[in-house]
Amino acid sequence: MDAVILQILNGLDKGSAYALIALGLTLIFGTLGVVNFAHGALFMIGAFCAVTLQRIFGLSFVTEDPTQKDFLGRPLKVETPYLESWFGPDLGGAIIDWSVPLAILFSIPIMIAVGYIMERGLIKHFYKRAHADQILVTFGLAIVLQEIVKANFGANPIQTPAPEAFRGSFDFGVLLGFDPNAIIYPYWRLVYFGFAGVIIGAVFAFLQFTTFGMVVRAGMADRETVGLLGINIDKRFTIMFGIAAAVAGLAGVMYAPINSPNYHMGMDFLVLSFVVVVVGGMGSLPGAVAAGFLLGVLESFASNSTFKGYIVEFLHVGGTFTEKMIQGLDQIVIYLVAIIILLTRPRGLMGRKGVMEE
């Protein structure tokens, strides 16, 4: 039982990331009708906002300490961050320690600007082109962004730790009456799950309860009619693109302490997020969120060897080729489930007739 709870928790934080990315993808697809393959890159840029802010806070001046030697026997160059010399080691150190949460504020304007430039500068010119053209141009853009990041930050993952207060893990088991240390979960992953909930709630509230959101929803349903009513829907859609970029970016910022950011992380999430969108139902925001969590949890269970062992035992297929297939389930489970859902519900879990269909 404890193992089941642990895998569900595990799936929820990965599901949070899928849900946030898929939410942005659906927003863009629903409003602009563009299949944005560069959306994973926005997630990655978000994570690198956290890295950048950590670097900015860490900017140091160098003094030579003749009492210590470096690896070549020269006086050791000691680096002291400017923040620590300005505000003292306590406050300065605390600011550096909290660089990831502070990066949320730092990343919002950057992500909105990146989204705005992307939409106005490139994607706008592809609205009337075929989906294949849009996929090619946004995929190319993703590769360009990825290479720019790699040229500046290198190819290795970069450690972006959470604040000291959130390191370590929370003993869930004790809370639920299990033995101590049976269900341990890192604090930051819990924070991530809560954060994702807040962002998802905020986006839904924005669309549901503001006039702006109402117009956007109307535009998603029937763009032409809204245009005929004299509303400049294009401008609003551009803003939605910025918001979608910010959501992906925030998902990336907060993900940085969970998985050290590298230039490739966007691509790792992108493909799966597309599956999430399709499974959830094209154009359905609640569908994207639900499918994100569902597939996150499924993936988590599929990569647990103990559960796979149970399946093998249950089916009596130990030592056969089927056992090998089951052991490799973690890599295909999402696609397998996608196939099953699309065969039974071709519009996805929450897709409705007439939405996003010719």
Binding site: F71, I158, Q159, P161, P186, R189
Partner: protein, 450 residues
């Protein structure tokens, strides 16, 4: 170079291969007058450095390139000469190789076997290189080694730690200076048993490709010989970045040691996540839970930050060694690039010098003459103590370093400390050892191509 270096054995080998070459189509259509593939005719000779310049190991590849460039400088007589001053063989005079100035071209392996083969092929066919050096990843090394064997040029492997490279996939034209998984196990196991006791239960997470498999097998065998038990071994896809769902089952498995058979980005992520899940603060079976990373690199340790503190692993070489060879290399590398060299940089540097030296001793660029000069070659002054290039499998035998993540690093390069230099005798094994292909493994015969 006055003495004749053509031996009876080499002569016979060459003629046999020349005969075979005439009968067999090769992938090359070069001048038929050449005695071997890409025989250098002008005043220069070209080396090919095939390293990951993009992809997950790009930083490692960049450090290898730095070292190879430095080696070429030293061979051509520029700079301070580095390890040429401490190398026991004095065949290289700082005027290139056999009077020819060394030039180099580079290729990008992308850490993918097919891309690595394509770039090696292009360097051989278009640029006319006489040898291929470098690389990171055993999957790539085995693939490129096979290509060089077919093409008839020498392959000097870079960072490759799988037993297979000089085990079941060994080739007559391929040579490895780097140590291997078996040696890591042999060096690490006694240190682990000493530090953590002999009654331990280990859980392995293993990267699902040639290197991971052989490393897991080696560590399991070596630790079980010390009395440890192995609870489970779970293979993880190479492309994984989130290991949390692999780590969670470890918590309730009854294991008290986690062995991470991961490298590069995989290792940085799995170690970081294992620490996040509180594994290192856990008590199991009345013992402190421990994590082991059998293969370390400086670049990885820097990436994993404070998570490596106190974690044991092994290395081929480290810049903190105090011997004359290491100091000479660290000085020239450090002055040129402003940072200490990594152990992958070291192995690529040494491999370049060893190749050039073998050519000088053989008096020929003919790969079969070079291979013969390398086989059974004993040398010193390259940072690892007395070293043997074993003739049977083209594997170097030398001391191995057991490392530990430093508790209080004083600067960004000061991440690991040397716990023990395991003597060569302790990590030696028979060339027909079962983990290395047993009696079926064979080098085949040298191919000079052309």
């Amino acid at each position: 170079m006055t003495k004749s270096l053509i031996t009876r054995r080499g002569m016979m080998k060459n003629s046999a291969i020349a005969g075979a070459g005439l009968a067999m189509p090769t992938i090359f259509t070069g001048s038929s007058a050449a005695a071997f593939t890409n025989e250098p005719t002008g005043s220069t000779v070209k080396f090919g450095f095939n390293v990951p310049q993009t992809g997950p190991y790009a930083d490692e590849g960049l450090d290898e390139l730095r070292a190879q460039e430095l080696a070429v400088e030293h061979i051509n007589g520029m700079g301070d000469g580095g390890m040429l001053n401490t190398f026991s063989s004095k065949a290289l005079g700082g005027n290139g190789v056999l009077g020819k100035k060394v030039e180099f071209v580079t290729g990008d392996t992308q850490t993918k076997s097919d891309a690595a083969r394509a770039s090696a092929k292009s360097m051989i066919e278009k640029d006319g290189v006489v040898m291929i050096n470098g690389g990171s990843s055993s999957g790539v090394a085995v693939a490129v080694q096979g290509l060089c064997q077919e093409a008839g040029i020498i392959f000097m492997a870079g960072l490759t730690h799988s037993n297979d490279t000089t085990g079941k996939d060994r080739k007559a034209n391929g040579f490895r200076h780097f140590f291997n998984a078996y040696m890591s196990g042999a060096a690490l196991a006694p240190v682990l048993a000493n530090a953590y006791g002999k009654e331990r239960r280990a859980y392995h997470l293993t990267a699902d490709y040639t290197w991971g498999w052989t490393q897991q097998e080696s560590i399991q065998a070596a630790t079980e010989a010390m009395g440890w038990q192995t609870v489970n071994n779970v293979l993880t896809p190479l492309a994984s970045t989130d290991f949390s769902s692999y780590i969670a089952p470890v918590l309730n498995s009854g294991a008290d040691v986690l062995v991470l058979n991961h490298y590069g980005g995989n290792m940085i992520n799995s170690l970081t996540q294992a620490v996040q899940f509180g594994l290192r603060d856990k008590m199991v079976n009345g013992k402190q839970f421990e994590i082991v990373v059998p293969l370390y690199s400086e670049l990885m340790a820097a990436g994993a930050g404070s998570n490596v503190e106190g974690v044991y692993g092994s290395m081929n070489w480290n810049w903190q060694l105090q011997d004359a060879g290491t100091q000479a290399f660290v000085k020239s590398f450090g002055e040129k690039y402003g940072r200490p060299p990594s152990n992958s940089a070291h192995t690529c540097y040494v491999q370049t010098l060893l190749y050039a030296d073998a050519v000088a001793r053989a008096g020929s660029f003919n790969p079969c003459a070079v291979a013969e000069a390398l086989e059974g070659f004993e040398f010193d002054g390259m940072g690892n103590g007395p070293t043997l290039y074993r003739a049977e499998d083209h594997q170097c035998f030398k001391d191995v370093l057991v490392m530990k993540g430093k508790e209080n690093p004083s600067n960004q390069y000061d991440t690991l400390e040397i716990v023990e230099t395991t003597p060569r005798a302790q990590v030696e094994y028979a060339a027909n050892h079962p983990m290395f292909g047993g009696d079926d493994a064979s080098l085949g015969s040298c191919n000079a191509g052309a």
